[in-house]
Symmetry: C2
Subunit: 417 residues, 2 copies
């Protein structure tokens, strides 16, 4: 399928919002006045429940409960409880997902654990334009292993051809952070298995935004991020999925005490816990976990079919409006138009992407610049309105038409871009 060519009008926009089954969820988030937030794939907004929950955890659980809250407030079960909830968003079963550490750390666990399950194979296959931390973690592991293993990088279109009899693990990000291109998770998993390889899916830009069926695809491992479409707060803990069939043999090197079969027996030798708990390492940051749960709870209220339908409608609308209003300004769409290859973002390349994005942000349209030349707009169906898309496209057109971006202050780069 491709983008609809019908030109929207203010009336159709109004009607789309009026009929949006997800519209009531917008009120669950704090969205500041004057902001159109198209960066929920970098950091999702604050769930309104999170403020109360944070005060409750701080005052009642930490302040009054003190150490007792590990039992009485269920802190010790929190990583698993949120993991079980998350499982419902990605086609996994309870006991297959746990929240822990960062996405990068969880990738390391999955990579090392996956290589150990394919001891006769020496190659990790990934995508050249994968999110850098994924590649860095693989490079770090390979360097640690002393050169016995290698990383084979392929272009997005050539992943399947890069998988061979030497491939131990295929490590891919489902939706590309820079282009919004979505891989066929089931087909590439099948391809990896046909070659005897295992697959690790990074769901950072998928979870909560696009349908994912890990068990349906018989995926082996996955990791994902808590602070994007799950709206779990800045630097929210990440998650890891290990398919149940692998859990007995899964061993990962970050063998911290919370992954031990009996952490409070204080034994001298590591014995991995049963099940997914062996993917845990150290003590998790409870305040950040509590905020994450608020975001996950909202995501669970939205039927994924409705989320996906709205995501495609929002991104369709943005593409249509930008192509209509901004033609002649040199924007080049880098996100696939095909529904089955599109995540929940729309990206345009432009030589002046950096100052253009700064000018947009100054006008309250918050997206991301992604080096070297990408304007990235994320469309989170839980809180965005069709009217936001309309307004954002018009403000982009205005910035381009007036060259409002062409000012020195919009070229100054901060630490985080």
């Amino acid at each position: 399928m491709t983008t609809s060519a019908a030109l929207p009008t203010p009336e159709t926009i109004f009607a789309l919002d009026a009929c949006d089954p997800l519209a009531p969820l917008r009120s669950r988030f704090h969205l500041p006045e004057g902001v159109i937030y198209l960066d929920g794939n970098s950091l999702g907004p604050l769930p309104r429940t999170a403020r109360h929950r944070l005060v409750e955890v701080a005052e009642d659980e930490w302040g009054n409960g003190l150490i007792r809250s590990w039992n009485s407030a269920g802190w010790i079960e929190l990583s698993q409880r949120i993991g079980d909830k998350l499982a419902r968003l990605i086609g996994a079963q309870p006991g297959e997902v746990i929240v822990a550490d960062s996405t990068s750390i969880n990738l390391f666990k999955a990579l090392a654990g996956g290589l150990a399950l394919r001891p006769d194979r020496r190659v990790i296959v990934s995508e050249r334009d994968n999110f850098p931390t994924d590649l860095y973690m693989a490079q770090g592991l390979i360097a640690l292993l002393g050169g016995t293993h290698g990383l084979r990088l392929a272009e997005a279109d050539a992943i399947a051809q890069a998988i061979a009899a030497d491939t131990a693990v295929v490590m891919l990000t489902h939706v590309n952070y820079r282009t919004g291109r979505m891989h066929d998770l089931a087909a590439l998993t099948r391809c990896a298995h046909e070659h005897g390889a295992l697959v690790i899916w990074d769901l950072a830009h998928s979870t909560g935004a696009v349908p994912v069926d890990l068990n349906g695809a018989e995926a082996d491992f996955a990791v994902g991020c808590g602070y994007k479409y799950l709206n779990g707060g800045p630097g929210a803990p990440a998650f890891i999925f290990v398919a149940r069939r692998h859990q007995v043999s899964f061993r990962q090197p970050l063998a911290g005490w919370l992954g031990h079969a009996q952490p409070f027996a204080f034994e001298g030798c590591y014995r991995p816990a049963e099940g997914i708990a062996r993917a845990l390492c150290g003590t998790p940051p409870i305040l950040s976990l509590a905020a994450l749960e608020c975001g996950v709870d909202i995501a669970l209220e939205a039927p994924m079919a409705a989320v996906r339908a709205k995501s495609l409608a929002l991104t369709d609308l943005f593409i249509t409006l930008v192509e209509q209003r901004c033609s002649g300004h040199g924007l080049r769409l880098v996100t696939p138009r095909e529904y089955d290859r599109r995540g929940s973002q729309v990206c345009f390349a432009h030589p002046d992407a950096f100052p253009i994005m700064q000018a947009l942000i100054a006008r309250g349209v918050i997206g991301d610049f992604r080096a070297p030349d990408v304007l990235r707009f994320g469309f989170a169906p839980l809180y965005l309105r069709y009217a936001d898309v309309w307004d954002a496209a018009h403000i982009l057109a205005e910035v381009l038409d007036t060259r409002a971006w062409d000012r020195p202050e919009f070229r100054q780069r901060a630490i985080v871009t």
Copy 2:
């Protein structure tokens, strides 16, 4: 030096509190009514500033600032800012300490980084009774390396003798979690260096409670915990110290994007950042970091000499009172009496330690049970009063005298003990 033998009276207790230079700091913490908290070495109490700070970070920075807060609220610098503050508590310089991940994860970085700096040596030396996660992380790394390296465990008194020409890294916890015994950090560091080995100090039970001078001792690496004597909140992020002289050559395998020289250049190859930032991995949990900073800020207000003097006086007093009031009940002091071997806790072994601790907790005296038979009492000088020690000792005597602990409900074990 040994414990004073003078028998305290209520009048002397009153005088000690009246003259305590740290007494004003108690009001900075929320301490629930009816609780004598001797478990600050498991989870420190809530700084009163933390509630406000958490609401501020949630509402203003996350809620209103959204993604912009990585720059505008300084989130991107938070790990380093808190690390620089922490450096002052452990005898390090700014730029030698950074906050990241968990203690376990940071141990892995230091261990792998340390082994890489001693490529011709194959042995990690540690203490048999080290905190289990330290041993587990070493075991996990060794297994990953495929049996090329080994872990040599020695009793606490025999560490020096275990260090030899084959030793790459000596990994020790400064204050033992179960006994409260403190190692001579400078002497063992010197011993390791004399044998050409590097040393990693786990400061989990030291930071904020006992004097530590990493640079004075020329220590190589250290890690530590944010949620014990730093009062940073449940599961607060941990820290890592890498001596400046090692930073250029320090490479660690958890090579996540925030440890990259230019994270937002999104390069395909990992290039470690200058300095201590190369110890970073993934995105840190900002809410938990913000709470940690509240705890660290209070710790910085207390001169370490005063902290240490009060710690010794509190632990002296508890030992004296317990030995006076609880004699004949089979308690055996396992914490050294010598000041230079004592951390900030007092531990007694008893065959019924578990139900005794449960009975104490039921009476509001919160300490820890540590398997197999240890009653552990932590004495945090920032908020404990001499009167608390007096009361705790008397309640312990009452529990023992009346065998109040000998009830079925006090033998039921929860998940976290």
